[in-house]
């Protein structure tokens, strides 16, 4: 993805560019979506689905956050952030008008356009729906280009489900949307059970499908295994990995997993490249 923003980051890879918080959407108790617009000196950003930015909470620190917006809409930059630490908490607490530092976009993309004519399975767990949202926007917009499209989305509890409005819009657009939660009380009328339990209800042809999987590592492992069991080819499964990323440009060494730099070779990988590595403890 070539863009002026990317060029600026290439020239000064350590320097965050200024962006302004335009809108804050509280998704759940600990998840916030920020809509950003370029500040003075920053340029609009084009990106591919699956790419991430380093978001800098001024004076606090920087964390990698996937872009959760629509890749066709370059007018704003959307990030969905879960409050899990010092920096993400600071980002979640930002108000409209606040300045946030952005470096990016970095990393590999979900190869969604390459699946034209095929069935597409999108499997998300928890906050893992955020990095997949650009894929779903794309699929919904170009629904006719693809065969069956199914979203399998698992979350912890009903009140931790993200993007309720979009889930409905994607259903309307002809995507089979299946949602489940790990835990629920009797008030919840939807599915209960881990994300993998949805696979048996998904309508797709395993031999003519690709899958994009994002969630906690264990969830991705089990989902990939279940999709393989359903007859999908390993090389048509894609996952998005997380490791400690400090620089996002291959300098700092933190995000290595075996031969891979997650920041540059990933975060999106074809499953066969990760399968063996993920099976090794503490790699």
């Amino acid at each position: 993805m070539e863009s002026r923003h990317a060029e600026m980051v290439a020239a000064q890879p350590w320097l965050p560019q200024p962006w302004i918080v335009r809108e804050v959407i509280r998704e759940t108790a600990d998840v916030v979506t920020l809509s950003l617009q370029p500040g003075e000196g920053a340029a609009a950003m084009s990106f591919g689905p699956g790419q991430f930015n380093m978001l800098y909470a001024f004076g606090v620190g920087e964390v990698p956050i996937s872009i959760s917006g629509d890749p066709a809409d370059a007018s704003r930059l959307i990030h969905t952030i879960r409050d899990v630490g010092l920096v993400s908490r600071a980002l979640c607490g930002l108000q409209p008008g606040a300045l946030v530092g952005v470096r990016g976009p970095f990393g590999s993309c979900w190869p969604v356009e390459a699946q034209a004519g095929q069935d597409v399975v999108v499997a998300a767990g928890g906050i893992g729906l955020a990095p997949l949202r650009p894929v779903l926007y794309h699929l919904a917009r170009h629904r006719a280009r693809y065969g069956n499209v199914v979203l399998l989305y698992g979350a912890r509890k009903p009140d931790e489900l993200l993007f309720g409005v979009e889930l409905e819009a994607w259903r309307q657009a002809g995507i089979q949307v299946e949602v489940t939660v790990d835990h629920a009380d009797a008030a919840w009328r939807g599915n209960v059970g881990v994300a993998t339990t949805l696979i048996r209800h998904a309508r797709f042809s395993p031999r003519n499908a690709a899958a994009f999987i994002c969630g906690p590592e264990v969830m991705m492992r089990f989902t990939a295994a279940a999709l393989e069991e359903r007859g999908m080819a390993q090389e048509r499964l894609f996952i998005s990995m997380e490791r400690n990323m400090k620089c996002a440009v291959g300098f700092c060494g933190h995000c290595q997993l075996g031969p891979e730099f997650i920041c540059m070779d990933g975060p999106v990988f074809a499953w066969p490249r990760m399968r063996r590595l993920m099976a090794v403890r503490e790699l």
Partner: protein
């Protein structure tokens, strides 16, 4: 020195070594090189031959380093110390930027440091190999680290051929030395017998220009031979490493019990990674002032031996020393090939010398290659 045309080899008398410093300083270079400090031979800013560790050598073994007096006046009669040149190109700590939050923009309030023009004096063959390896990390990948690239580009490498090897050296096995073959501006060979001279060659245009400014004489066949003999002595190394098939072997042994065995000795102190001339990992730290409107970011050397290194939400990926040592060794000797097309090890032996418990990389590789019971 086989690659350098004989016409290029000149002789500089040892007592005129300061003419080299003068020429470098006149051209605006900051001279850095070996000097005595911290009970070792370290790299620091130097201004002339009197700063060099003349008449000193180093004695090294696993977990051991001792300075010893030589009974001659050799300027470069040591091998390698705890420092490496990376500290000038990739500083142990530096401020990346200082920013002020001003309306809808960031105002840069620091003066971005002007990259220095260094003359690295006394660079060994293995160290040139290490510089080339870090070039691939910082200057030849998808992204370029501007500070590194600029400093590296405008700095001079004044190499010195080794004429002796430490007990910890294994550059012959790693095919990085002991002769300086490429990647230098000037290369010196110190000759003590029959008289104290430097055989000096240029390896670049800048080196040629510099050489022309020095009071040199043509090299005689006798001195040429003396230099050859001196460098040959450095090829006699007690340590070695079997590199054929090592990349694959380590990948097949990710679950080897040997990692646990190493972990019973390894203190996870990170010394090996600090001393290693190719280790490049770093971390950043963000701070702000009390108003919250001024902030800065610092970069510091980090190590895969630090528990926090692999931290992701929920905890560290590599909780055990066994997993951290495995990361270090498999990265250095195996996955480095996948990432940068070469080994990450140059055979300088620093990790062996500076390991407080004397873990010997070559010995651990040997055990991995020929495990007891013979299963490879």
């Amino acid at each position: 020195m086989p690659d350098v045309p004989a016409t290029d080899a000149r002789i500089l008398q040892a007592d005129r070594l300061d003419r080299l410093f003068e020429a470098l300083i006149a051209r605006g270079y900051h001279c850095v090189g070996p000097t005595l400090g911290e009970g070792a031979i370290v790299y620091d800013e130097i201004s002339g031959s009197t700063d060099l560790p003349r008449g000193w050598t180093d004695e090294q073994a696993p977990g051991q380093y001792r300075l010893k007096k030589r009974n001659d006046g050799a300027y470069f009669g040591y091998v390698v110390g705890p420092h490496s040149w990376k500290k000038y190109l990739f500083e142990p700590q530096r401020r990346l930027w200082q920013l002020k939050r001003a309306g809808q923009r960031f105002e840069r309030t620091d003066e971005p440091p002007e990259p220095k023009r260094y003359a690295f004096i006394g660079v060994r063959a293995c160290e040139i190999a290490a510089l080339r390896i870090q070039d691939r990390v910082f200057a030849e990948g998808s992204f370029v680290e501007p500070g590194y690239a600029k400093t590296r580009e405008q700095s001079l490498v004044i190499a010195v051929n080794c004429t002796q090897a430490a007990a910890t050296c294994f550059c012959v096995a790693m095919n990085t030395g002991p002769e300086v073959r490429e990647g230098f501006d000037l290369a010196l060979t110190e000759i003590l017998e029959p008289s104290h001279h430097f055989l000096i060659q240029a390896g670049s245009e800048r080196g040629r220009e510099l050489l022309s400014a020095l009071p040199t004489a043509p090299c005689t066949a006798e001195l040429q031979q003396a230099a050859k003999t001196a460098v040959a002595q450095a090829s006699r190394q007690t340590r070695t490493m079997e590199t054929a098939g090592l990349k694959e072997l380590l990948q097949k042994n990710l679950e080897s019990p040997q990692w646990q065995d190493i972990a019973t000795r390894c203190l996870s102190c990170a010394n090996c990674t600090m001393a290693c001339p190719t280790c490049f990992c770093s971390s950043v730290e963000d701070t702000s002032d009390l108003t919250g409107d001024h902030a800065e970011r610092w970069q510091r050397w980090d190590s895969c031996f630090n528990p926090d290194f692999s931290y992701i939400h929920g905890g560290e990926v590599r909780k055990t020393t066994a997993s951290r040592y495995r990361q270090w060794m498999t990265h250095k000797l195996s996955t480095w090939f996948d990432q940068f097309g070469s080994s990450g090890c140059v055979g300088c032996g620093r990790c062996i010398t500076w390991c407080p418990v004397g873990i010997d990389l070559t010995e651990e590789v040997r055990k991995m290659t020929q495990p007891e019971g013979g299963r490879a």
